[in-house]
Subunit: 238 residues, 2 copies
Amino acid sequence: MKKPLYQQVISDLENKIKSEMKPNDRLPSERQLLKEYGVSRNTIRLALNDLEERGIIYRLHGKGTFVSTIYLDQTNLGSMYSFSEQMSETGHKPTTQNRTLELVTPEEDVANQLNLRAGEKAYKLVRLRLADGVPLMYGETYLPEKIFPNLKMSDLKENLYTVMKQKYNEQSILAFEDVQAVNLDEKDSKVLGVKPGDASLKIFRRAINDKNVPIEFTISLARGDRFIYRSRQYNHLV
Amino acid sequence: MKKPLYQQVISDLENKIKSEMKPNDRLPSERQLLKEYGVSRNTIRLALNDLEERGIIYRLHGKGTFVSTIYLDQTNLGSMYSFSEQMSETGHKPTTQNRTLELVTPEEDVANQLNLRAGEKAYKLVRLRLADGVPLMYGETYLPEKIFPNLKMSDLKENLYTVMKQKYNEQSILAFEDVQAVNLDEKDSKVLGVKPGDASLKIFRRAINDKNVPIEFTISLARGDRFIYRSRQYNHLV
DNA sequence: ATCTTTAACTGGTTAGTACCACATTCTACA
DNA sequence: TGTAGAATGTGGTACTAACCAGTTAAAGAT
């Protein structure tokens, strides 16, 4: 499985930027890059578009293409829609401890979030996420039984979203996330390995599939000193 | 001032989608669109890229291009891009105290976020936001002088984004927001009217205009017990 | 010397063509 | 009557070739 050309250019430029360049340094012009890599300008621009979109570079008409500043700070871990992906991207080794998986009748608030009727059950999955071996995030995930029947711990060796897709052909198109700051209590602070009272991000995530049916509800606690929630907002007002 | 072709295609497609199409409807194929609009495939793909990036459409290799589900639901508030709007929608009376506005040479990290060169100045605006008279959020906003020359306190009777648009014809298309949980120190806790050590959301916002030029950088502190950061995540990963 | 013009950069837009990879349908062979 | 395979449609990648539109610095005129 060989990568497309422009993705190779992306990787290469990204590495060079990371290792050899400083913020606001100028990159070679598009016409120079085209010669260096032996590809067309189209391909170069595809690669640069990607880097620009991800905030790694910025372009100024008539002046050139430059290294952004935001890129370097490693602490930027991004929003949590896929913990493992984001970790890998930022060069950290992500691990997940699946602690418990049980079939429960959820509390009313959780049931509401999942549009469950009285008595309908859901799987409750408790996970601890670590980066480079350090606890970073603790999460309780609820998955409706009617959508994910017969879910097993052994399924969860894979990424959760992979399991959803492959075993159940379910996929989250849209997720709503609410983020709140809380002071950790004794118990939770112990789990995350910090002091009681330390600030923590509490993230509520509600994911729905393409038919607007809720398929996941997760409550997470993330260490305030190590986790940054990142999102991007588009304003298409026109 | 005539728009580029592909932007016309974007507007036109966007209108059609809004007025005539339903979620998951299929758009004409790229090769059909190319004939309809009398432009090259390159141009069509540029337009579709934009719509895809903004979550309005999604593409499936071999199958076609489709209308996303998210676009319809009007609740387009996304996040905190406009404090006042959001508050009104939730039924609270928002007020803003503009405390200070001064022209400063920002620290390096702020300068970097705004892509300012050494010595370039920015307006620093300090604001306190209240809901129903209770302090809720404290924010420092930096605005590049070269983009907003001659900014005055009296301009700020209006909503900041209204001023940007009307006085300077600037508009933020995309904003990156990083959200972190912190424990408040003595000073900040006093401003927000809570106890030192209380958890708070620290929000970094970097907004750029349609030319990818940073036009705003804001650092906010929001009361953890009263403020929830809300966002939505689209996954058309397939 | 100073100002104006021009030339030579930069990224931005557009056209046209070709082929690849995935998905579906139609067709021909067993 | 199936089933393998071809044909056709979709988006994805890639190249070539121009020209447009800002920016900067060199060349020229005053």
